[in-house]
């Protein structure tokens, strides 16, 4: 079905209209993008421009009103709820803007949980430790989320997003609550991961300083895609 097998994510004419109390509100208008495997894509735009909405649609958390999203050649809108959930737990890792950890599990357990969800076989412990070391938290594995700072929690969330070996990571403003040094570090981590593990990452940001970090940038303004520049 995929027209071009090189693109892992294809966004075709995606539009999203919300029904609000004051009538329908169009948050996304006909967005098009094709993202190749193994790149870091930055989805930028001001607050309210529709970044989260688009990311949710790509992550199969939400469905577009018009258009479709194709992931690995599969039309997501044709999947039923159950299949979409399975897609999420096997293929996609999420990092959300604010806390996305499960408060009753410590760092290790949070990371391990995603592997459990994806049904990863084999030695979980090694992989979890590896992932946590990767985000620089090798020494804080048994801390509870409430005992960690926002940045640390966010890094645990990243470790969790990659642990089960997804092909795509969707990160919604992962740097919003971090200081600039830390933000740069997280971005660097993402870059490394695309290189080392050949993961496709889409992250949103409104931080102008990080715009150049991506291999590809999609810019939104009031739900309208104003640019897409793939690196040469």
């Amino acid at each position: 079905m995929g027209e071009n097998a090189n693109y892992i994510i294809e966004i075709q004419n995606v539009g999203r209209t919300f029904n609000t109390a004051s009538g329908p509100f169009q948050a996304l208008k006909s967005v098009n993008a094709s993202i190749p495997e193994g790149v870091l894509t930055i989805l930028k735009g001001r607050s309210g421009s529709g970044k989260t909405t688009l990311l949710n649609i790509v992550g199969a958390l939400d469905q577009p009103t018009t258009g479709r999203v194709i992931i690995e050649g599969q039309d997501v809108s044709r999947l039923n709820d159950y299949q979409r959930e399975t897609l999420r737990r096997k293929k996609i890792g999420f990092v959300f803007q604010s806390v996305s950890l499960i408060p009753t599990m410590n760092a290790f357990q949070n990371v391990e949980f995603s592997m459990r969800m994806a049904g990863v076989k084999g030695d979980h412990k090694k992989r979890v430790e590896e992932c946590l070391k990767m985000v620089g938290l090798g020494s804080r594995m048994h801390h509870m989320p409430s005992e960690m700072s926002g940045g640390e929690q966010q890094r645990v969330a990243i470790a969790r997003a990659i642990a089960h070996g997804p092909s795509i990571i969707l990160a919604d403003e992962p740097t919003a609550e971090l200081d600039s040094a830390m933000a740069a570090e997280v971005t660097k981590l993402f870059q490394e991961m695309t290189k080392k593990e050949h993961i496709t990452i889409v992250m949103t940001t409104h931080d102008v300083g990080l715009m150049d970090a991506g291999d590809m940038v999609i810019e939104l303004e009031n739900g309208v895609q104003i640019s897409q520049n793939a690196e040469a």
């Binding site: 939400d62 959930e85 806390v99 996305s100 499960i102 009753t104 949980f113 969800m117 509870m144």
Partner: protein, 936 residues
């Protein structure tokens, strides 16, 4: 401030509704106590009076005075007396029913004016009885005319039949007093104008029966007063009787004290004390006061656990509510709101809720009280028996106290929160170490105390029964130890539960599917937060069970015991007349009687079977070492007796019928109570000789021993002269009636009868009346059973336990639902994360069910287990204290499956509602929205 508060309340409406429910129930429960107490005391007194009336056929609420006045100057003595008497009802605080003044002159000789010589009127007393014309029926002639004197100045009188015959009077005849003359000196003349009798023989006006007015001629009251009283009283000797009957139905718990005190005053100190006879109701009232003290203590203690639960409920819900407001509070704080301001806000809120609670709770309390009073059995109400609810000062005091308690309970959790700041909030979000009670080993301590109580009572059972018999109220520790046991076990369960969960978790650590895994983690890490609701569930369920079992057991045992003690449905003993002394005596040692016609009993309606039973409580044995030993002899017709009586096989060594068969086949045989074997060393096959009450020796052969026999009490407690209880052993011999009668002759026997199924004794009563059977003893099992159920202590206990059961079930349902729904709502964001990570709806639901399983369901089972254990251990103790003096049958623990099912149905309903809510929540959960919750 008011606006802020109302907004806050609106925002948390579900919580507020729960708090209101809690306050209403708490206030209602508290208020129902004094209401019920007063109302049941009212009725209890009335019941006591009623019982006396039914038993003796006399009006119990009566004061009786008698005075004989000689040469009363200007009638002062009588005047004073009458003044006191007319004020009597007012002083006693009662409403009069009947006031009878019966005055008469001393006996005076008369002669017929017609010169009839056979008139036997040398002993007539002229008098009056107030209100006579209204209560008497004229059977011959007429009533005296108004004013009592005819145009010739003759005093018209009426006499009773007895008087007419005794004195050989004639209606219409005029008689003349020989030595009594009026002012002018002409002798008084009376004319017998009629003969009277009672219009209604059950009328309590007739304190002096016409049949005992054998020498009295009665005339008009006013005429008598004008002629013989006042300044004329000096000349006569006048005997005055006063009967003051009042309505005991109107005596209430509140007026009872005054009535009693004033009665004692009249009897012991007043100017009229020497003229007063001891009123029968004084004793009734004293019995009533003693009962009252015992009931008061018992009922109050029974309510304590329910009150504690209500308090815990309020505490839990308000804590939960403030928890939800944590963020708002800390925001307000960071905007400069002071702790004091916060606290004031919460205080106002609590007061607001308590006031509404009182507005709803006090009327509900009145309803509770009515419900309590109509409790017939556990969870059974008889709508016809309703209590009068009256509010007095104590009720308002209780209500005020309950409101204050509500306010405190609802404000205290806020104390902790009002001091919160953002920083502290973050810190306190971190998981706490063990709770204070765990460190203090409160569970172990509570269990220790309760088990000590248990041990102590198991050891001193007998002493306890005796002290209850001596009129002491139940030891509060008895109730407390069962409650403490429940709380202790609940806490112990909470201490162990995490370890069990952890163990299960570790056992399958590698295999747990994500849903169960997440549920385990939730429980392992957040379990402590749920301890309170878990404890609450355990307490409500086990207390509910315990209460149900206590109520059923106490009542059922009391009923069965009574059934056993009464023996047969109906017992009739006729009045037997002795044979004229000159006829020959067919009886061996005693007087001879004319046996009433036995065949007539075959026409007794509604009766399935009847038999003759001869019992002699003064039979005796001659023993080797102990001399004469008394025993009771019961002579029966085995076949009929077997149709009429029964003893449950559960308690006898062999079937009761077998005993009867043995006796039937051996005319000379006797069945003996087993204590005869134990104390006198009798064996089966022994030839023994015993004497009946008239000294005739009867030879017999012992064919078997029994422990229980209908109506037989192996030991009984009797209150000695010094008021202490003493144990007394009773022995019984059961023999064949034919054999016994052949030997000693026919003595008055009883008729024992069994009613047809579904029949009561109404028709038997009617039959007795119609056939003019002169009954000297009548026992009706149904009536006696009714009295057992009606006993205020039992009924109050039942009522309080029933109400407690209902309240606990409501609390258990509402508490669990609100807690879970609220706590799950607060985790919506986490659910969003889980769903985003690809967790299916089914899995999320599965996770929530697992969480329910680990805490809710586990605590429900713990509650059921603890409830059962507590019932087994403590109910026998409690029951003993109620049954006390005449309990014969071994205690049976009554677990009514319907009660338990009710409890289970409610729990199942709660769980189902809970699951349904979870399902809806899971289905409706919008992942993207839930995730947005975290973005602020």
């Amino acid at each position: 401030m008011l606006k802020v508060m109302l907004q806050k309340i609106w925002h948390k409406k579900w919580m507020v509704i729960c708090l209101l429910l809690g306050s209403i129930l708490l206030i209602a429960t508290v208020v129902s106590f004094p209401l019920y107490r007063n109302a049941s005391y009212d009725r209890m007194l009335v019941d006591e009076f009623d019982d006396y009336l039914a038993e003796k056929g006399e009006w119990p609420a009566m004061l009786k005075f008698m005075i004989m006045v000689q040469k009363d100057k200007n009638g002062e003595t009588i005047g004073k007396m009458e003044k006191t008497l007319n004020e009597l009802d007012g002083v006693l605080g009662v409403t009069g029913k009947e006031k009878v003044f019966y005055y008469s002159l001393s006996r005076a000789e008369l002669a017929s004016t017609t010169g009839r010589s056979d008139v036997d009127a040398d002993g007539l007393r002229l008098g009056f009885m107030s209100g006579l014309p209204e209560h008497a029926k004229i059977i011959s002639g007429r009533m005296f005319c108004d004013g009592g004197m005819d145009e010739n100045g003759v005093i018209e009188v009426v006499v009773s039949q007895e008087c007419l015959i005794n004195n050989n009077l004639l209606v219409g005849e005029t008689l003349e007093f020989l030595y009594m003359a009026d002012k002018k000196g002409s002798p008084f003349r009376i004319k017998v104008v009629g003969v009277f009798e009672e219009q209604d023989s059950t009328d309590f006006y007739w304190q002096v029966r016409p049949s005992s007015l054998g020498i009295v001629a009665l005339t008009d009251e006013q005429l008598f007063r004008d002629t013989f009283l006042g300044e004329r009283a000096e000349k006569y000797t006048i005997t005055c009787y006063y009967y003051d009957l009042f309505n005991y139905e109107d005596v209430t718990a509140v007026t009872a004290n005054n009535l009693y005190d004033k009665t004692v005053y009249y009897q012991e100190q007043s100017g009229v004390k020497s003229t007063m006879s001891a009123p029968v109701y004084r004793e009734i009232m004293e019995r009533y006061f003693a009962k009252r003290t015992r009931i008061e203590a018992t009922l109050f203690i029974l309510q304590v656990p329910v009150l504690v639960l209500l308090g815990a409920f309020l505490f839990m819900i308000s804590g939960q509510m403030y928890d939800m407001e944590r963020n708002e509070i800390s925001v307000m704080k960071s905007r400069g709101g002071s702790s004091a301001q916060m606290l004031r806000l919460y205080l106002y809120q609590s007061i607001f809720l308590a006031v509404i609670g009182a507005a709803g709770g006090i009327p509900l309390g009145a309803q509770f009280c009515k419900l309590l009073g109509s409790t017939q059995n556990f969870l059974e109400f008889n709508v016809r028996r309703r209590l009068n609810v009256t509010f007095d000062a104590t009720v308002w005091k209780f209500a005020a106290g309950a409101m204050l308690a509500c306010v405190l309970i609802m404000t205290i959790p806020a104390l902790k929160h009002s001091r919160l700041t953002i920083v502290k909030l973050k810190q306190s979000n971190a998981l706490k170490k063990s709770a204070l009670w765990e460190k203090l080993f409160l569970d172990v301590i509570l269990l220790g105390i309760s088990l000590y109580g248990y041990y102590n009572y198991s050891k001193n059972k007998e002493m306890m029964v005796m002290s209850v018999m001596e009129g002491q109220s139940l030891d509060p520790l008895l109730y407390l130890s069962s409650s403490l046991f429940i709380v202790g076990m609940g806490l112990l369960f909470l201490r162990l539960q995490p370890w069990v969960i952890r163990l299960v978790y570790l056992l399958g650590k590698r295999f747990w599917r994500p849903a169960s895994y997440a549920a385990f983690m939730e429980n392992v890490k957040n379990g402590r937060k749920q301890q309170f609701i878990m404890l609450f569930m355990i307490l409500t369920i086990s207390l509910g069970m315990y209460h149900a079992v206590v109520a059923r057991t106490i009542l059922q045992n009391a009923k069965e015991n009574e059934e056993y003690l009464v023996g047969s449905d109906i017992l009739i003993k006729e009045v037997w007349t002795k044979t004229p002394s000159n006829s020959s005596n067919p009886n061996a040692g005693g007087p001879a009687f004319i046996e009433p016609d036995y065949r007539k009993y075959s026409s007794m309606p509604d009766v399935e079977a009847y038999t003759k039973v001869y019992s002699d409580a003064s039979a005796s044995f001659k023993t080797k070492d102990k001399g004469q030993m008394g025993c009771t002899l019961l002579a029966i017709q085995t076949k009929e007796y077997g149709l009429i009586t029964d003893v449950s096989e559960e308690i006898t060594e062999k079937a009761y019928r077998l005993y009867l068969n043995e006796l039937a086949t051996e005319p000379k045989g006797v069945l003996a109570s087993s204590n005869l074997r134990d104390s006198l060393g009798f064996k089966i096959g022994d030839e023994v000789a015993y004497k009946d009450k008239y000294g005739t020796t009867i030879e017999a052969k012992i064919i078997d021993f029994f422990d229980y026999w209908p109506g037989y009490q192996p030991t009984s407690l009797v209150t000695g002269a010094d008021g202490t209880a003493q144990k007394q052993t009773n022995t019984l011999l059961v023999a064949n009636l034919a054999t016994v009668q052949k030997k000693i002759g026919v003595y008055p026997y009883e008729i024992w009868a069994k009613l047809k199924p579904g029949c009561d004794s109404t028709n038997v009563y009617a039959w007795i009346r119609e056939n003019d059977v002169h009954v000297n003893k009548f026992r009706d099992k149904a009536r006696e059973m009714e009295q057992v159920v009606r006993d205020p202590l039992l009924q109050g206990t039942n009522g309080v336990l029933t109400m407690g059961f209902i309240v606990t079930i409501i609390l258990c349902a509402v508490g669990y639902l609100i807690y879970w729904i609220m706590s799950i709502r607060s985790r919506e964001m986490v659910f969003g994360v889980l769903r985003a990570c690809g967790m299916h709806k089914g899995e999320l639901f599965h996770m929530l069910i697992d969480e329910q399983l680990f805490s809710g369901v586990l605590s429900i089972f713990a509650g059921i287990g603890i409830g059962t254990l507590t019932s087994r251990m403590f109910v026998p103790m409690l029951q003993m204290a109620y049954a006390a003096s005449n309990q014969v049958l071994p205690m049976k623990l009554i677990v009514n499956q319907t009660d338990m099912n009710r409890l289970y149905v409610v729990i199942a309903g709660v769980m189902a509602t809970c699951l349904l809510t979870l399902l809806i929540l899971v289905l409706k959960l919008n992942v993207t929205k839930a995730l947005k919750l975290g973005e602020e």
